[in-house]
Symmetry: C2
Subunit: 338 residues, 2 copies
Amino acid sequence: MKHVTIKDVAKKLNCSVSTISRAFNDKYDIKKETRDHILATAAAMGYSPNPIAKSLLKQCSNQIGVVVPEFINSFFPEVIIGIQEVLIKKGYQVLIMQSNESQITELENIKTLENNMIDGMIVSLSLGTQNVEYYKNLIAQGFPLVLFNRVSNELDTSKVVFDDYKWAFFATEHLIYQGYKHIFHFGGPSGHIFTQKRKDGFIDAHRKHKLPIDDNNIIETGLMIADGERVMEKLINEGNLPDAIFAVNDPTAIGAMKMLRKHGYKIPNDVALVGFTESSLAELIDPPLTSVAQPTHEIGKTAARLLLEQIESKGIFVPQTVILNGRLNVRESSMKLK
Amino acid sequence: MKHVTIKDVAKKLNCSVSTISRAFNDKYDIKKETRDHILATAAAMGYSPNPIAKSLLKQCSNQIGVVVPEFINSFFPEVIIGIQEVLIKKGYQVLIMQSNESQITELENIKTLENNMIDGMIVSLSLGTQNVEYYKNLIAQGFPLVLFNRVSNELDTSKVVFDDYKWAFFATEHLIYQGYKHIFHFGGPSGHIFTQKRKDGFIDAHRKHKLPIDDNNIIETGLMIADGERVMEKLINEGNLPDAIFAVNDPTAIGAMKMLRKHGYKIPNDVALVGFTESSLAELIDPPLTSVAQPTHEIGKTAARLLLEQIESKGIFVPQTVILNGRLNVRESSMKLK
DNA sequence: AATATTTTCGGAAACGTTTTCGGAAACGTT
DNA sequence: AACGTTTCCGAAAACGTTTCCGAAAATATT
């Protein structure tokens, strides 16, 4: 309850607070013996410097804010672990907030973090975030900010992204190589870069292999299991079944799979499936789901490192965009049975 | 970068900082018109009170710390969402840290949070935490602390727990009712309350139904998928197969399921399975896994409410333990086929 | 031995708030 | 007109640090 302060230690040792401070900050102008003595008694008294007071004085807090849209799926938690791995080692504390895919909550989070004098921020934009003016201001003021995955072209700051186009292309091409010809794409919410990129990859893979494709092949679905179920059910009822589906992410693929199974369809015999952004689910469900894996830990670590670079290089800093590589984990859900 | 402070506003308005403060804190001794005028110009200048300075002065921060062992599985994230739901509404900010199942990290987290002058803490103990002396100290000092799920009998503080015994009993009884007679328990790491309780429930269900049971029925397994796989593989190699397994949690059940499938065994025909602590996996895998579901959101909300009670009732406070109810979701993995 | 330099430390200001205290102004009462 | 109340606001202290400045003590230089 009653915290031991620097004054208590000073009183006990009959010296000034400045000396205590010097001992703790390893300053040059203090005798080694006194420093050791101070450190020893301070430890005995259970004293440790109050970071809040320090923050107020230094105008920075050794804290980094992280804002993610959600942490129900394992993707963002895994990224956060990567972030922490790098930052904690550097003595930073990581404050985590979730925006719940809402622009309003996201903005509140940002402001709270800003008020807490955090030294920098790592953000993945929520689906609801259309207006990025606030971020523009932050960036203009030189505030250290790194975006990852859900980024915005309007913002000139460091970014860690995944090559959605390329891996959507590969994933689609994999289905084509397996011999599937009538492929649907279950797309994400429109107006988002990753939605567009994954769709483009899907389309261009068809173009390369000269497979016919039109708007009917692409269905805006969403990102949740329920979305995949809903769209799949509609297709089943309409009797409009493809022989393969490339889904914007694993949950929609899994939703589709559940609905197909429920109606007695076999996977991949009747319909093959490929997901995106590996979740722990992919290899556990039956049949195991072919999916594009993102290097979650690496994304976090890279974002943290970019942020540190910006924080440490006062002023002269050129934002970088790092594109990380993924992997297509081919599993049963997309293997053509001969 | 350059924050607008209360002094800037005071200078601009040619008044004292105390007046500004009064305006923002809705004090009685300020004229309404001046207050409105101040609030308006402050907003125009982009001023908002610095919470760090406030924390230093008030010796509290309107922040609540949450420490969980991990957030890879969806269980803890869901609890956290419940916590946030309650606390954010009350104007608290939630700082989340993970201990990685390590006592050392957990202690570091606690200290960091404490130094940050948080007003209270919600903690789920890590597996590695054997020594709870530090918590005893906190509690003795009257520091608001609520434990959930992974609690300790040695600590006299508010707790939100699940009736592990009861639901382990029900889960086992369900298997017995289905006609399974030779049932194994894949247990958690020893030395933890929940491990013991779930084991006791398993044993007592057998006693009630007068089914023979001994130490061979109970195998200390762990908590991860890999643990389930390892133990299951050993049993298969030994030719020592039960007709049903009650696992300490879903991951171990799923590990067992994977290994059984790999060796060509059918579920539930050859071996039935029941898990514990519903994960999103349970209903997605094939066959869907019967499992005991905990009310994650409710756990979080209750923990938050208990903490608020303690914070608001200065001094006179009696710790409460809330036991929440669960549900046995019966699915294919445990249904005896006639 | 006197002076110059270095080492070591204490005092005080500063960070941005809130709050207590006291005082001035405005008002009401006799 | 004198006094007591009330209303409103400013000055200053406090929260726990760090750091600048200067001074005393210790050491080195002449």
